[in-house]
């Protein structure tokens, strides 16, 4: 493991903006819990994006203002949110019909690990002491064509999240389209990890040395 400089890399907001820039006008988008939630606030002006939350709302708006929370209007992370004009409520089977049926254009998820081939692990550490919980993650990766992952490149303990093979239990196989991390934006193209953009001060070599996954340069 190479030593990394803590100050390097993009901030969460910069990553969120990069993700948001890649979401086209008119897209239907589902945002995972955690980091991906930041994407909503970063959609470029002039684009209209409709957010889906799998607990039964199309047209999710901003988080609820303090004092205006409605315990019956929450997102998938159970945070209090709002609904935009033109929103629609529906039940869970209809909501996952949207997901499984391929109607959501883009889903942005967090990750524990992403493999060379775009396998994603983000639901279980495999630790028997942890309570297993899967939520909607497997449905999302099975149903949505374009899966963006938004994540820190390293775990808190310094392990790379991009790996040759996932050691954690999989959420889905060959499902990730692009990885937005604090150190680089990496495409999964035909089973290869292609580095598209590097954060300031990050070199391709540094990145390659940080993971056992084979990386390709986008300009190669």
């Amino acid at each position: 493991m190479v030593e990394r400089k803590k100050t390097e890399g993009w901030s969460k907001d910069i990553i969120a903006r990069k993700v948001a820039m890649d979401i086209f006008d008119g897209a239907y988008v589902n945002l995972g819990i955690g980091l991906p939630e930041l994407v909503a606030g970063n959609i470029p002006e002039g684009r209209e994006v409709i957010f889906h939350t799998e607990n039964g709302l199309l047209g999710m708006g901003k988080q609820a203002e303090p004092g205006k929370e409605d315990p019956e209007l929450v997102n998938a992370g159970k945070k209090y949110v709002t609904a935009i004009p033109g929103a629609a409520y529906f039940h869970h089977a209809d909501s996952f019909a949207m997901i499984r049926g391929g109607h959501i254009d883009i889903c942005v998820l967090g990750a524990y690990q992403i493999s060379e081939e775009g396998d994603l692990a983000n639901w279980s550490t495999g630790n028997p002491a942890d309570i297993p919980a899967v939520g909607g993650a497997m449905d999302l990766v099975a149903g949505v064509d374009t899966i963006f992952v938004m994540t820190k490149f390293f775990t808190r303990s310094g392990e790379p999240k991009i790996v040759k093979e996932c050691t954690y239990p999989l959420t889905g196989k060959q499902v990730v389209s692009r990885i937005y991390s604090d150190l680089a934006v990496i495409d999964v193209k035909e089973g290869r990890l292609v580095v598209r953009e590097l954060a300031p001060g990050i070199t391709f070599d540094f990145l390659q040395k940080s993971t056992d996954a084979k990386l390709f340069s986008g300009t190669e």
């Binding site: 006008d25 929103a87 629609a88 409520y89 019909a97 949207m98 997901i99 109607h103 959501i104 099975a142």
Partner: protein, 237 residues
């Protein structure tokens, strides 16, 4: 900005290609998108597979589309009606193919396509001639047949009101196949009696959320199919 509203029925049906599978909503005339079907006749795409509960009446709407020889095959539950003349004639001559599907199985196969379910088991048609060729299987001591999803390239639907996001509400029993057909097609094309502002439809009452809709066109005074049939109208007129 999202704006699914187009100006004419002809714009609405643009892009329907020869050989496409086209779902058409309606239970008899209730919910039948007559103006969109007529636009499809003008458009001329042929060799279509049509999925619809019935096979049309008189010489307008779906019957006219069939009469115009644009339909190679129809998948439906009830092609026979008192005033259905076009389909029976072509069918007897062997000039149109029919896949007869029980009505509930038809609705569920369409929903399945929209919901990403490739196949499911159902008790309907077991021990009848319509089970022919279907895989059978026991669950909890009862026999079921395997049914596959029906996917479509386009859906033509009539509804009561729509907004620019494509959120739809319907009128009474004209709802019928509209919502599931919008789910099952890559491109759902909707004629609405009224296009309303975003926010005008109560989010609790949206029947088809906009995500299932591609294009919307306002048709303020849609024809009553039964009146056209009564008047012995023929399309193209």
């Amino acid at each position: 900005m999202i704006n699914k509203v187009v100006n004419t029925v002809h714009e609405a049906v643009a892009g329907i290609f020869d050989g496409a599978t086209v779902m058409i909503s309606g239970f008899g005339e209730a919910g039948s998108p007559v103006e969109l079907i007529h636009a499809l006749i003008d458009h001329g795409a042929k060799d279509l597979t049509v999925v619809s509960n019935n096979a049309g009446s008189g010489h307008v709407g779906l019957a006219a589309l069939i009469e115009n020889r644009q339909v190679r095959k129809i998948i439906c539950s009830f092609p026979r009606t008192a005033i259905s003349v076009v389909f029976p004639e072509l069918y007897r001559k062997g000039e149109i193919e029919l896949e007869l599907v029980p009505q509930g199985t038809l609705a569920e196969r369409i929903r399945a396509a929209g919901a990403g379910i490739p196949a499911f088991y159902t008790p309907t048609s077991v021990n009848t001639p319509l089970e022919k060729g279907k895989e059978k299987r026991m669950f909890n001591g009862r026999e079921y047949v395997l049914e596959n999803a029906i996917y479509a390239d386009f859906t033509l639907v009539k509804c009561a009101a729509a907004d620019r996001y494509g959120n739809l509400i319907y009128n009474k029993t004209a709802r019928n196949f509209g919502p599931v057909m919008c789910m099952a097609a890559k491109n759902s094309i909707v004629q609405a009696k009224k296009v309303v502002e975003v926010g005008d439809i109560d989010p609790e009452c949206v029947v088809t959320p906009g995500i299932f809709v591609k294009r919307v066109v306002e048709v303020k005074d849609p024809a009553d199919e039964s009146k056209l049939v009564e008047q012995e109208r023929r399309y193209p007129w």
